[in-house]
Amino acid sequence: MDILKLDDEELKRRLAFFELTDEDFRRLTALKPFAERWTNEITEGLYELIMGQPESRAFFPDQATLARVKKLQNSYFLGLFSGSYDLNYVRDRLRVGTAHERIGMPPKLYLGAYRRYLALIHARLQDHFKGNDAEASKALATIRKIIFFDMAFAIDTYIAAYLETMTRHQAAIRELSTPVIKVHDRILLLPIVGTVDTQRAHQIMETVLVQIVEQQAKVMILDIAGVPVVDTKVADHILKTTAAVQLLGAQTILTGISASVARTVVQLGVEITRMHTRSKLSEGIELALSIVGKKITSKKESERGDA
């Protein structure tokens, strides 16, 4: 319900849009005996359709499942006439929708079933009101309102499920596209590969800053060898990130600067001369190490030192 932002106000708005009034609620409550009398037959009628089509039948592979589901369907039907249409009712309806979404039943089948439901109810209503067409019409109109009201929630649950998946995927994509690597104690490296648009640039700055604080890194190496185009915008993003890194108390080393990027940047008049920059990543790493007071020596050298 959270992801769909369903609260009392939203519920009020929906009831208004579906034109569900106190009169409808009274009518529904009055129809409770009708519902109790016909629920089994209506459920049977619904599952006749579902089991009669191979696509929908597949969801109910065994008798036990079918029996359980029919029972749930009965209580669902009776719920329509409960007389209480508050957030608890909504929560309940959402649960039903979620259950269907989870087993993979596509909306088309779900909606097709609702259509059948209405037809079955319609037929029984005419009998119930024994020729009083006016009353039967009013009852049907009310039931149609509540059924459509429910359908909206059913569709919402499908949407909620997809939103959740999207959210997870986006988070994963964000992580993958800004992989901050710990090269050494207090030295982080972020290889930027691909185009950097404004959104990505924001993402990069934010990830870099958070990682620096989390890891208490003194140096952040930004390698741009994989960025195809470095124009004023991209350069500006890099400058901003560097400035922010400095505000935290760390330093940035920009590496992977090709000859053409060096040309472009200076010709554009971008001031990145104040930053540490190196052409090769390896040089950047060496510089980073020296900043934190370390250096790489060859094994022969250090062995000689030990001996």
């Binding site: 932002k5 106000e9 949407i159 939103l163 999207m166 959210t167 995927h169 986006q170 934010e206």
Partner: protein
């Protein structure tokens, strides 16, 4: 897009402490609606800048905070209204400089860069109305 009736707050700005009051309310709302830390900081800083402008230049005004919804998107809207002196040279105020400018210049242009939508209605002698909006990242 619509503005919820329930999610609307009005804070009078007629003393210096109100700047902090507006800031804190905005922070609460942004956090409640799960804006990320950077968006929260952007909103509270913008709120701080704009409330301060009202206090410093008009000594009296009002901040209106609303939560907006557009489909599945959530946004926060801040409106600052005062009947102060208004801004004479709006273009210059919005152009803003970097670091060395006076309070009004950088405040407005800086704030503009923190939000998604920014509109300003001002006239010397009549007052100023600034409306800003920031939408939560969808995913």
């Amino acid at each position: 897009m619509y503005r919820s009736e329930r999610e609307r707050w009005e804070i009078r700005i007629d003393k210096e402490a109100d700047i902090v009051a507006v800031r804190q309310r905005v922070r609460e709302i942004a956090k409640e609606h799960r804006f990320d830390q950077f968006a929260v900081a952007a909103l509270t800083t913008a709120a701080s800048e704009l409330s301060r402008n009202v206090w410093v230049h008009a000594q009296k005004g009002i901040a209106l905070i609303s939560v907006l919804r557009n489909g599945n998107k959530v946004g926060v809207e801040l409106e600052f209204v005062d009947h102060g002196p208004g801004i004479a040279d709006l273009n210059r105020a919005l152009a803003g400089g970097f670091s060395t400018s006076h309070s009004l210049g950088l405040g407005l242009s800086g704030t503009k860069r923190l939000v998604d939508e920014f509109s300003i209605d001002t006239e010397p002698g009549r007052g100023t109305k600034i409306v800003i909006r920031k939408w939560k990242k969808e995913f």
